[in-house]
């Protein structure tokens, strides 16, 4: 299968990418191409011009400082999976994306800009309350992950705006995070994904953040789960009871398809939230 015809431009820096975008407002950028090329092969996307940002060194970094970690948008899933600086939920999710070949080419920036509801990273970034930094002709912006994902394949990015960096707190003292997913057996995309970060002090949950994805049009925070757990003892029973509270946060547009019905996914949300919380709690110890 061939992608449709397009003109190809290659950016050699972030500034150059923005110049090329300004001169070609209808162009699409390509990072790893692992969402864009499959979409073009199936004629779901047909950009007249592609600006290749895959070699832009400004977007390739991963550095931790003072309990905070910054990840360049051009960092590959394999690099994130191998990092011990990022929260466990993020390295775990990155290591479960697709397969090794996909992880060698696909990037964090491309994954979140694409905002596929079946993606893994949006769910994790919402749970970790990550910040997405962007660059455009009119400067830079910082967007909270919870505000970045707007709807199915829709983000808060404006035309001509690029994801530059994703940053978040590391898992600090007494804190653990985890990601659990029900994968589509062929593609490995998430049919249900759940991410959790918990802090446990003196055997009691003092902070809990949970998000789910894969079954909703966008990654969704699950504040009811946190509300049910904070102040409670870190026990399996309390986790199981609180996980069920995710049902309050799923909303009315749980999605079903040929791979799994909406009802089934809804039930699995409780199961996978419980798994993510259980692992996160073990890691907090």
């Amino acid at each position: 299968m061939y992608p449709p015809k397009f003109d190809y431009l290659r950016a050699d820096s972030a500034a150059n990418a923005l110049e090329l975008l300004a001169a070609n407002p209808d162009a699409k950028v390509m990072a790893g191409g692992h969402s864009l090329i499959p979409a073009m092969n199936l004629r779901l996307a047909d950009p007249g011009t592609i600006i290749d940002i895959g070699r832009v060194a400004d977007f390739k970094f991963l550095s931790a400082n003072d309990g905070y970690v910054g990840i360049g948008s051009g960092t590959t899933h394999a690099e994130v999976a191998a990092s011990s600086d990022v929260p466990s939920a993020l390295s775990e999710a990155a290591g479960l994306i697709g397969d090794p070949q996909v992880r060698n080419r696909g990037t964090v920036g491309g994954n979140i800009a694409h905002a596929d509801p079946a993606s893994d990273l949006p769910t994790v970034l919402v749970a970790l309350d990550a910040t997405i930094s962007t660059v455009s002709g009119s400067g830079t912006r910082m967007i909270k992950a919870g505000d970045f994902f707007v709807d199915l394949f829709e983000t808060a990015l404006n035309d001509g705006e690029l994801v530059a960096e994703i940053s978040m707190n590391q898992d600090g003292a007494n804190t653990g995070s985890a990601y659990a997913k029900l994968s589509n057996p062929a593609s490995r995309y998430a049919m249900v994904g759940a991410a959790a970060r918990v802090t446990v002090e003196g055997g009691v949950f003092t902070a809990v953040s949970v998000a789910v994805g894969g079954l909703t049009p966008k990654a969704q925070a699950a504040p009811s789960v946190g509300a049910a757990l904070v102040g409670q003892a870190a026990t399996a029973d309390n986790i199981a009871a609180a996980a069920a509270a995710v049902q309050n946060d799923l909303g009315d547009d749980v999605m079903g398809d040929i791979h799994a019905s909406a009802d089934y996914r809804r039930q699995m949300a409780t199961v996978f939230v419980k798994r993510a919380l259980t692992k996160a709690t073990e890691r907090a110890g």
């Binding site: 191409g33 090794p100 080419r105």
Partner: protein
């Protein structure tokens, strides 16, 4: 657009359309038909090659993205007439039936073993998730990778 890349140790330069996929560059421009195309959806892994030392799906990479890269295909794995340990292990352990998935399997598996020669069976299966085989049921593929890992020891 002009692209240049080193494939199996030799540098090739061709003028190609930007939309040409790397797999078509290898097969149609260079005549290296060992790399197969098994799907339209980037899922089967039959097209796996090594690009700058990493296993990559050549059907999901544009030739222009590979400009300047160093590529190894299944044709470049053997050392002259001496098969690579992974090729030999597939042969000896019946790791193939029709053989269509085999070039991709072998290219993916060599990188897995180079990165971790001491994989458990579960790790081998997880590592080969991007490669689909319609014939073997995977048992002999996993057996082949284990046998090759024993031969390859600390990687190569």
């Amino acid at each position: 657009m002009k692209v240049s890349m080193t494939v199996n140790g030799k540098t090739y330069t061709r003028d190609v359309e930007p939309r040409m996929l790397l797999v078509h560059f290898l097969r149609d421009e260079l005549g290296m038909t060992g790399t197969n195309i098994g799907c339209d959806t980037s899922q089967c892994g039959a097209c796996t090659i090594h690009m700058n030392g990493m296993a990559v799906k050549s059907c999901t990479t544009l030739a222009v993205q590979a400009d300047g890269a160093t590529i190894t295909t299944i044709e470049g794995l053997a050392n002259g007439s001496e098969l690579h340990p992974m090729q030999k292990a597939f042969w000896e352990n019946h790791g193939l039936q029709c053989g269509y998935c085999t070039p991709g399997m072998i290219m993916a598996a060599t990188k897995l073993v180079e990165n971790n020669p001491n994989m458990t069976e579960a790790e081998i299966r997880h590592g080969l998730e991007g490669n689909i085989c319609r014939c073997t049921g995977y048992e002999n593929i996993v057996r082949s990778v284990k046998a090759a890992a024993a031969q390859m020891g600390g990687g190569d």
